[in-house]
Every structure is written in C-alpha cells, then in structure tokens.
C-alpha cells in the first residue's frame, strides 16, 4: 500500500478554488436556456394560455405549455402517476410550472415569461393536512393511479374519493388491553413543519435530444430512476436515454428520485435544441420540501417507567403530488417506535394531498418528524414519573439482537453504549464550561433505512495498473467517490492514488438503485468486493496461462501480482497475455437481495441510529436558544474516511438545528410566504454549537465491507427532541411544535412562570 496518507477530501481544493465542475458549468454545443412560468394560484383551472407575444420576442426559441405534451405519456410518478410533465389543464400549488420559455439567454427567457398571459379560474384549495382529510375538502386529485414496485418495492394505498394517498397500519400485541392495565398513560400531539432541503446548488438540468437519443446532465440523486421515467414519458427505450451526473452541490433528498428532469427534457424536445434550466433557490423551494407531520403518541407505562404499550398516529402533509411521500409516511410510523422494548404496539400513518409544494424524501425520511414526537414524550413521561430521562430510557432499551418489531431485522447496535458515551462526553464538556448556565437534553433515534439491495459497478484494471471505477453513485458532497476509491484500492490491494472514480453516466455505468437512504458506501462497497474478486480470478487465470503457476498461489500486490517471492507487474503480465503492451481487464460486481446468501433481503439491512445530547442556554428575555454543546454518537460499524464521516455527522446535526430552531415553510391563504433566502432562515455558523463532539463507534457489526453500516442521516434524528427536552428540563416549558423560535420559547417560559 502507498505510504502516503490519502487526503480526506481530495476534491476540496478544486471546490474552494471554483474548479469543480457542476452542471451549471457544462456547455453543450447549441445549448439554449429555459425559464419557468409558475402558477400564482394554489388551485385553479387553466382556461387558456396566450404565448404569442412571447414567441415574437427576439431570441425566444420556443414556449412549452400543457397543450404541447398531449402527445407524450404526460403523467408520471414514483408511487402514483399523478404529476403532469407540465401543468395541463389545472394547477395544484403556487409555484407549479405552467409554461416554459427556451431562449438564447436567461435574461430573454425571463423577460419572455412576462409576456405570457394565463387565464385562470381559481378553485377552492386546501393547504392543511387535517383539513384536507375532511369530507368537505376540495379534492386535489379526483383519481389515484398507483404504480407498483416502480421505485421502491410495493405500492401506495390511497383512499378513493379523498385526498389520502397513503395509509399504513401495523399492530402487535393488544394495545388497548395494555393501556387499560398501565399505571399511567400519556398522550400528546406533536407538530413538525414543512422544511426546505436548501442544497447550496439549486436544481439544474441540461437536456439534449440527438440522433442517438436523449442525454441529460442531471443533478438528480437517482440517475436510473430519471432514465426510467423519461423512457416512459417519451416512449423511448432505456438504452437511448443517457443520464450524466457531474458533481452535485448537495441533495438531501430534494434531488432524489425524479424532480425537474421530465420538464427540462420536454422543453428540449419542443425547442429541438439542448436546453439548460437552472433554478433559483426560491424556485427550488417551490420544487420539493420535507413532509410536515402531526404525530399523536400514546404510551402506557408502569410507575417504574416500563413501557407496556405505545400507539402512534401520523398524519403527513404530502403536497400537490405524492412523489415518494407514501414511503415517507410508512417510515415516519416505524421511526416513531424508538429503540425500546414495546410489547404492544400500534402504528397508523396517513399522507394527504394538499395544495402545497410536493413533499419529498429528506435526510432520514420521516425520521426527524417521528423522533421529535416519540423522544419528546419519553422526557415528558420521565418528568411525570420523577425519573431521570436517562434512567427511563435505560429501563426500556433494546439490547443488540432484540426485536424492534418481530417482522423486522433485530436491532444490531447497543444503544445503551451510545447513550453512555454521549453522557460521558457531555459531562466533560459541561465541566469545562462550568461558568455558564446550561441545561442538558437527550434523545435517541433509530431508523430502518429503506435500502433496495440492487447495485452494480464496473472495475477496469488498465495495463499500467491504474483502475477506473464506473458506477452510478452520485457525488452529492457526501464524499462517496473517495469512499469508493479507498474501498477499491483496499479490495485490489493497490494504492489509493491509482484508482479513479469516474463521473456517473448511465451509458457506461451499470444499474444502481440510486444515491440516498445511507446506502451508497455500503451497497457499492459490496459490489466493488464482488467485482474485485472477479478481477483476482481473471488475473490468477492469466498468470496460470502465462507463468504456468497454480492460480491458487497468485496474490495481488501493489502494482501487480506475487507468487511467493516472485513478482510481476500488471503490465508485464498483461503484455505477455495479450501479446501487445496494451489492454485491460474488466469486471462487474453485483449486489441483489440474493447476495451474501440472502442476508441482504431482510429489512432493514441495518439500523441507522444516533444518540444526541445537548447543553443549551436560553436568553429568558428574548427566548433565544443557544445550543452551546452537542454530542453525537452512532455505531456506524466501520469508518472508511474519518474526516468525511464526521463531517456527515456534524452536517446532519446542524441541519437538524435548522428545523429545531428556525426553519419552517409558512403558508397563508394558499401562498408560501417565506420561500425566499431572505425570509427562510437556515443555521449559520452562529447557530453551530461552540463545542461539538462526534463519536463514531466502529463495532464492525454492519453488513458492509469490514462491518460497515450506512451513515450520514442518523445524526439529524435526535436534535430537535434533545433541545426541547433541555428546554423543558431547565424551564419546565414543554413545547410540542417546531421550530422552537424565540417567540414560541419566550411565550412558553412566560406561561410556565404564570402558572
């Protein structure tokens, strides 16, 4: 192996010096620019669109409206085929694309939008999920056209004639009987708002129809899903659709599955020119957001804190189009269980259409919503029973190997260990900061990643010993390319710097489900191991022919092979084999639910977990919370790139501080009234805790290479309840609605004092 320590982020210099190429930097010959006219109405019939004045403007090449897509298979969706490529006869939320202009430059396109006149007839609208499921609510969609096994396994269960697009139920034991037998029952409702993903790079896509098919440079996290949707929309074979995924400036689920790709492709199709569409941040805010949730939790306990039963009822606001909302609703229910022994459990979840921005996957889908509710309530129970919050958790914690639910894989980590480490670290931090008045809060989160075990990778070993890794894992800033590079080097026993991870391109990279759900390092790592085993077999067979040695005796070593003390470079071996000093070996590695003797088939593939502990100070005059210290602990199995892994953990936590303290997409009168960078506040360095400790436990017990688990999402789970629990511990003020804005905190503290 190389003696040179690999850089934790070899791409950082390129990023900070502006050399890294994102889609917005890509120039395609003949490319023009697209802009989108969006609906100002939450719900309306489109009575007519007059684009004649726009088309007469110099530099305008084409205008796309709903009338143009009649010839296409013009509705698509991941669970429900509910979304038109562009609004056809009706708009369902403020911001829905109604018309698009392709023009010589962005300025002309933007000006041409002003010249398009749309005649709307407003319809009654609903933006609140509770109102949306009432019988009198206006229907956002009249029918529900479900698709099965399209993206995730399974299908949605909508309710005909209502806005409910997903229902989910699960039960074990006898919850009602257990509630009747419990010493105490606690029941409360917790509210979690709509949250914008706020990737630094807004959505950006270039689409180009050429004689050999359709090519997209897409910011999407799931290139093969985009390929599939485009194939259906345009009636083209998959093989004629190519998705290239340059560096992506953050995804967080807002670019997962499929977003603006069909829209941009349709404009390119109409314009007969390559078209680039790069949204503004405000437009990205009108593209996808986290599903808001109302979660009612009832827990029955003995007086000693032992949980006897729990019921969870989730209602999610899914927005105008279902997207992956049906999966989010299921996960929100599961992730509300917590790492506890619950002998009697009932889960109910519903997601409803509303006239708001479509809900979508977001870092640990449904998880922060669920853990906000369940872990807030754990502290409420502790307080009522006069138990220490750590004690009540310890009393109910599952041990490794015990079941969260009998039908799911047993929990594969020791949450008690993580909580103990968090407590120890926080105790030290607070001792070092004894001068300030802080209050401690704890929360634990577990999630069952919805990982589809379908991945593949190509390894190409060149005659000079360099290796190309060809996969569809998208670099969204999480550092996947560096992980794949290191794992390939490890599996082939080569130095890291001979390995190149290529830009994902579906034309050359084999199928992968997508980049999300904390899956890529794990799944692609297993695929790399499979491909590397094949390379080793090929090398051994070639050595047996060329060198007349026993293939079993051939070992890989840096730059070549070793048979005992005898060494040959790859170049020497392959030159002798091919007869010329050129060539390569190619192998494919695959992962399927049947890999590893079927061990990957059971859900979840692993449990992604986090223990979070915070120490907060509150300005009682303003209600402003300052999270002074934070400790995040997770058993990730194995760390491949420590700096990047810790960065993921810290990033997830700080992102969690956003929905905890300030973030919320607000609707009034059907209008999203703060969907701008001015009015929507994400955490800055000012909100980052002064002291932040990340502890990544390497137990080696995960299903990936070297016992790794997926990571990068779990740390967001405990943040909000930990902070709310600290607030309640310090001031007796229990807030059940996020975000914990200064006003809300100030009022809660005042109300508490007045009681």
């Amino acid at each position: 192996m190389s003696s040179r320590a690999p850089s934790p982020h070899p791409d950082h210099v390129d990023k900070v010096t502006g050399r890294t190429e994102y889609i917005t930097d890509v120039e395609v010959p003949g490319m023009v620019h697209g802009k989108i006219l969006r609906s100002p109405h939450p719900h309306a019939v489109i009575k007519g669109i007059d684009a004649s004045a726009a088309l007469e403007m110099p530099g305008v090449i084409a205008v796309l409206t709903g009338a143009d897509v009649a010839a296409l298979n013009n509705h698509w969706g991941l669970y429900l085929k509910d979304r038109p490529v562009i609004a056809i006869d009706r708009v369902r939320y403020v911001g829905e694309p109604v018309a698009m202009v392709a023009a010589a430059d962005e300025r002309i396109a933007e000006e041409a939008l002003e010249a398009i006149s749309v005649d709307y007839e407003p319809l009654p609208f609903v933006t609140d999920a509770t109102e949306a499921i009432e019988a009198s609510a206006p229907l956002v969609h009249e029918t529900h056209d479900t698709v099965k096994d399209f993206y995730f396994k399974g299908e949605a269960k909508p309710v005909a004639g209502t806005n409910i697009f997903q229902r989910y139920n699960y039960e074990h034991g006898d919850v009602e009987k257990a509630f009747a037998q419990a010493d105490r029952c606690f029941e409360a409702k917790y509210e979690f708002p709509m949250i914008f993903h706020y990737a630094m790079e807004p959505h950006c896509v270039i689409a180009s129809f050429q004689s050999d098919g359709l090519t997209l440079w897409s910011c999407g996290q799931s290139p093969t899903a985009i390929q599939k949707v485009l194939s259906r929309v345009f009636g083209m074979p998959l093989a004629r659709i190519r998705i290239i995924s340059p560096n992506v400036g953050g995804g967080f689920g807002g670019k997962a599955s499929v977003k603006i790709d069909p829209l941009v492709a349709a404009l390119a199709w109409k314009a007969r020119r390559p078209v680039r569409v790069c949204l503004s941040v405000s437009e990205s805010m009108l593209t996808a957001r986290r599903l808001s949730a109302s979660i009612r939790v009832k827990t029955g306990v003995r007086n000693d804190g032992t949980i006897l039963a729990k019921s969870v009822s989730v209602l999610m606001n899914g927005g105008a189009y279902a997207d992956t909302g049906p999966a989010v609703a299921v996960k929100a229910a599961n992730r509300a269980i917590g790492p506890y022994r619950i002998p009697n459990l009932k889960l109910e979840s519903m997601a409803a259409y509303t006239n708001t921005v479509p809900g979508a996957a977001f870092r640990s889908i449904g998880g922060p919503q669920a853990v906000w509710a369940s872990e807030s309530q754990m502290d409420e129970i502790a307080e009522a029973l006069r138990l220490d919050p750590l004690e009540i958790r310890n009393r109910n914690l599952l041990r490794r190997g015990e079941h969260v639910r009998p039908d799911l894989r047993p929990i594969d980590v020791e949450m008690g260990e993580a909580m103990d480490i968090a407590t120890r670290e926080m105790t030290q931090l607070r001792a070092s900061d004894s001068g300030s008045k802080t209050h401690r809060g704890t929360a634990l989160g577990i999630s069952d990643p919805g990982i589809m075990a379908v991945s593949s990778v190509l390894l190409r070993l060149k005659i000079d010993g360099s290796v190309a890794v060809v996969s569809n894992s998208v670099e969204i800033g999480q550092g996947v390319r560096e992980v794949l590079r290191r794992l390939t080097a490890e599996q082939l026993k080569q130095p890291v710097d001979v390995v190149e991870v290529l830009t994902p391109d579906t034309a050359i990279a084999p199928f992968d489900w997508g980049t999300g759900a904390s899956r890529s390092s794990l799944m692609m790592g297993l695929a790399i191991a499979d491909a590397a085993a094949d390379i080793r077999r090929q090398i051994a067979d070639i050595a047996a022919i060329v060198l007349e040695v026993d293939p079993q005796s051939v070992e890989l070593c840096e730059g070549g092979i070793a048979i005992g003390n005898r060494k040959k470079t790859f170049g020497e071996l392959l030159h002798a084999y091919f007869g010329i000093d050129s060539g390569e070996l190619v192998s494919i590695g695959r992962v399927s639910p049947y890999s590893n003797a079927g061990k990957l088939a059971q859900a979840p593939l692993f449990w992604e977990t986090a223990a979070g502990q915070c120490a907060v100070a509150v300005d009682e005059d303003t209600g402003e919370i300052s999270v002074r210290h934070y400790v995040s602990v997770a058993d990730v199995g194995r760390v491949v790139n420590r700096a990047a892994a810790e960065g993921q953990d810290e990033g997830a936590t700080v992102m969690g501080l956003g929905h905890t303290l300030s973030e919320e997409l607000v609707y009034q009168d059907g209008q999203p009234i703060n969907a701008t960078m001015i009015d929507y506040h994400v955490p800055t360095i000012d909100e980052v805790p002064e002291n932040f400790v990340t502890v990544l436990i390497e137990s080696g017990t995960g299903p990936g290479l070297g016992g790794m688990r997926g990571m990068g999402e779990g740390a967001i789970l405990p943040v909000a309840p930990a902070v709310a629990n600290a607030l309640a511990a310090g001031y007796g003020a229990r807030i059940r609605e996020l975000p914990l804005t200064p006003e809300r905190v100030w009022r809660a503290i005042r109300d508490r004092k007045e009681r």
């Binding site: 100002p40 009168d669 059907g670 209008q671 009234i673 701008t676």
Partner: protein, 150 residues
C-alpha cells in the same frame, strides 16, 4: 386576508346609500384609488389602485363588479386586477351592509376578503398584509369622515 369593521352612524341608511353610489366620494375614501370610472351604474366600475409596498410600487388596473345589491341595505362586489411589473394579482371580495339602528341611525359594516397571488405574495406577504391593514384603517377613518358630512 380578512378585514372587517363596523360603525354606528347618526344618519339613515338612505343617506349613507347616497354616499356609497357617489363614486367620486367613495374613491376618495380608498387610499391609493385613482381614475375611478363608472362603466355601468351599480354594475361595473374601473379604477387604478396605486400603492407603495416596501420597495415596490404597484399600479393595479382593476375591474369592480357589483355582484348584488339591495338599496339601501347591502352591496356585494368583487374587484380584481394585476400589477404588470411584479406579476401580482389582487382580488377583493367586499360586502357592505347598512342596517337601521335605533332612531335615525345606521349600522354600517364592511367585510373584505383580500387575496394576493404572484411574485409579491412570495416576496412580501407580511408587508402587503400590514399595508392592507393600514389601508383598511385609513378607509374606515375616511368613510366615517365622509359619513359625518352626510
């Protein structure tokens, strides 16, 4: 956005009605109302609403349709217009009721529902709301002043 106000005025509904259909005087009550024209008496009017909202100057040509009325008891009207520069659509549904209240007096009530859509709604909803609130307060003040003269 809903706005409403009520006032008891020391004059009869008939005399209030006379003011209400005198469009010049009514226009003078509405802050920013300019170029009001009667297209068809008690049916259709046009006007231009001018407002400065934060950094934006709005100029909204609006059509005002009287949807129903009963002299001298009530008028229901709807107004809609669009500011071209900001692409903002404003619609107002207005209900004005006049009812006898005791000896020679009247209860005058106004209920308005204002909807804002378009770029300004997403950029400055709270500013618009504040401005609209101010305008309704001003409208209330001016109409009471006018009615005091009836």
């Amino acid at each position: 956005m809903d706005f409403s106000f009520e006032a008891v005025l020391p004059t009869t509904p008939d005399r209030i009605w006379t003011l209400m259909i005198d469009i010049e005087r009514m226009a003078a009550c509405i802050p920013g109302c300019d170029k009001i024209e009667e297209q068809e008496k008690l049916k259709l009017y046009s006007a231009v609403m001018k407002q400065k909202i934060g950094p934006f100057k709005l100029e909204v040509p609006a059509q005002i349709n009287v949807e129903s009325y009963e002299e001298p008891s009530f008028v229901n009207a709807a107004a809609a217009g669009k500011d071209k520069f900001t692409g903002t659509t404003l619609t107002v549904r207005l209900k004005v009721n006049v009812a006898p209240e005791g000896d020679g007096a009247s209860k005058f009530s106004v209920n308005a529902q204002l909807a804002v859509a378009g770029r300004l709604a997403s950029l400055g909803y709270s500013v618009i709301k504040k401005k609209a609130e101010e305008n309704f307060v001003e409208f209330e003040r001016r109409i009471k002043e006018q009615l005091a003269q009836v």
